[in-house]
């Protein structure tokens, strides 16, 4: 495998038709989270600027006795306008994750698409893969379409695909860290073998990170903090939209080989004097 010199070899069948997940095709390859915004107006403005069609949300207990008449997230980001991807953020075992998504499915009128994440510990938020596999199996059996946050381990990714997950979503670096694409080689190994979309989930810090993920041949990028914690979230959402498109175009175009030596862009023949 050659990471940058021959991207066409990585994914020869790459198409420009859009991102297809569980039989539905989305024009945008950017998926965004809805956490950490100042308010729902900012959330919606960022979502709109990002051009995303898939928006992830978290399921939590209602605050009893409070906020019954306050606006809700799904008023700002309505399910008839966006594909809502409920996630299991904050779940540390398979049982809680499965239960959370059963509630989410009820909340979203039976909608089966979900984002499974089972976390290992609070310090790293690294996925707990044994619990993730257990939950994925139970959810697929129960009819869910599971997009799964996972380690950037090609073997785990393959197992998740074999279980029937509709997308594998390896981390590029720790959730919320903004550290960028730390192991492009592992991501490439996953991309090379995958028969379902590979979406980088977690770690993107700025537009170039998103572009790099897409240039590697990822099918999409999911991010939250990189937009929400930018100085100007709405502007960063727009930047991410462009970066994902640019990275995808560059991947399809196929980058030039890296060379150690210089190579003049102007012909040497016919020089004056």
């Amino acid at each position: 495998m050659n990471l940058n010199d021959s991207p066409d070899e990585v994914r020869p069948a790459a198409s420009e038709a859009g991102l297809t997940i569980a039989g539905r095709t989305y024009a945008s390859r950017l998926l965004v989270g809805t956490g950490k915004y100042r308010d729902f107006d900012e959330t919606r403005a960022a979502v709109d600027a990002s051009g995303t069609e898939i928006v992830t949300v978290t399921i939590r207990r209602v605050n009893i006795g409070q906020h019954a008449h306050e606006p809700s997230l799904l008023d700002a980001v309505p399910p008839d306008r966006f594909t809502i991807l409920p996630n299991t953020g904050g779940c540390f075992n398979a049982k809680d994750a499965v239960y959370t998504l059963q509630l989410a499915r009820e909340l979203l009128d039976g909608h089966p698409l979900c984002k499974l994440e089972v976390l290992g510990d609070e310090k790293t938020l690294f996925p707990n893969m044994p619990e993730t596999l257990k939950a994925a199996e139970a959810l697929v059996k129960d009819g869910f379409e599971v997009m799964v946050y996972c380690s950037d381990d090609p073997i785990q990714a393959r197992i998740l695909e074999d279980i029937g997950c509709v997308a594998v979503m390896p981390l590029a670096s720790l959730i919320g860290s903004g550290m960028g694409i730390l192991n492009p080689w592992n991501l490439s190994l996953i991309i090379e073998q995958a028969r379902v979309p590979v979406i980088v989930d977690a770690g993107v810090g700025t537009a170039s990170d998103a572009a790099i993920a897409m240039e590697l041949g990822c099918d999409g990028v999911l991010m939250n903090t990189a937009i929400a914690h930018a100085r100007e979230p709405v502007r960063m959402a727009r930047a991410m939209c462009l970066a994902v498109q640019a990275g995808r175009e560059a991947f399809l175009a196929g980058r030039m080989p890296r060379r150690f030596a210089a190579s003049p862009s102007s012909p040497m023949a016919g020089r004056i004097a």
Binding site: G33, I59, L108
Partner: protein, 69 residues
């Protein structure tokens, strides 16, 4: 008046005996809101709320979608 004590989202909640899940959701001002409900970790679809009488020690969970990544 006979009352029963249940748990709603982790906190004790006292109501009159014979009250249904529908009554509870109405009393919380959540009817018509986009919420999902489970009792004892079993999801109860809203058409079944009126028929589900709350029993002592039922653990009710009422959830919504909030911002997250």
């Amino acid at each position: 008046m006979v009352s029963v004590t249940i748990e709603v989202n982790g906190a004790a909640h006292v109501l009159r005996a014979g009250r249904t899940l529908h009554d509870l959701i109405a009393s919380l001002d959540l009817l018509g809101k986009r919420v999902a409900v489970a009792i004892n970790r079993e999801v109860i679809p809203s058409p079944r709320w009126p028929g589900r009488i709350l029993k002592p020690d039922d653990r009710v969970e009422v959830v919504v979608a909030i911002g997250g990544g």
